[in-house]
Symmetry: C2
């Protein structure tokens, strides 16, 4: 496979990642609504720790656990902003 | 569905995302090797723009295009580090 073939593979992966990140965002919005109803804070550091643990456990490489966590820090930040801006 | 149900949905999504990000990383490593052989630079800003365009086009929300791009900036940064550290 040449560079263009691998890039096509990446483009296919990205389409699925975009879909999944949006599914994750929809679930986060539902959680945000339920938290507001229950008077619970949007930010719960304990849950964040659970997510990091789960993704490290699911990881088979070649990404290192720390690299995956870097990406997930950003994903969770964006999801939290989405929940806070939801009216 | 309650908060725990939605969290379970998120955990299932995350397992798939971890798998896909690693598939993306494997492809990036292959591209890195081919670029080194060809004397091409790891960082090609034109390709980065193409990726951002494609993810915005694939986006059906609720994430906004800018939010998706924030996540992808991090993903691409991490992939580039992976390529550079590959010996």
């Amino acid at each position: 496979m040449d560079i263009e073939d691998w890039r096509q593979k990446i483009d296919e992966v990205d389409e699925q990642v975009v879909l999944l990140l949006n599914q994750r965002a929809s679930a986060a919005l539902e959680i945000g609504k339920l938290k507001k109803q229950a008077g619970r804070p949007i930010y719960e550091p304990g849950r964040e720790g659970v997510v990091f643990e789960k993704i490290r456990k699911a990881n088979r490489g070649p990404l290192q656990g720390d690299q995956l966590e870097q990406i997930y820090h950003r994903i969770i930040d964006v999801m939290r902003t989405l929940q806070r801006n939801d009216s």
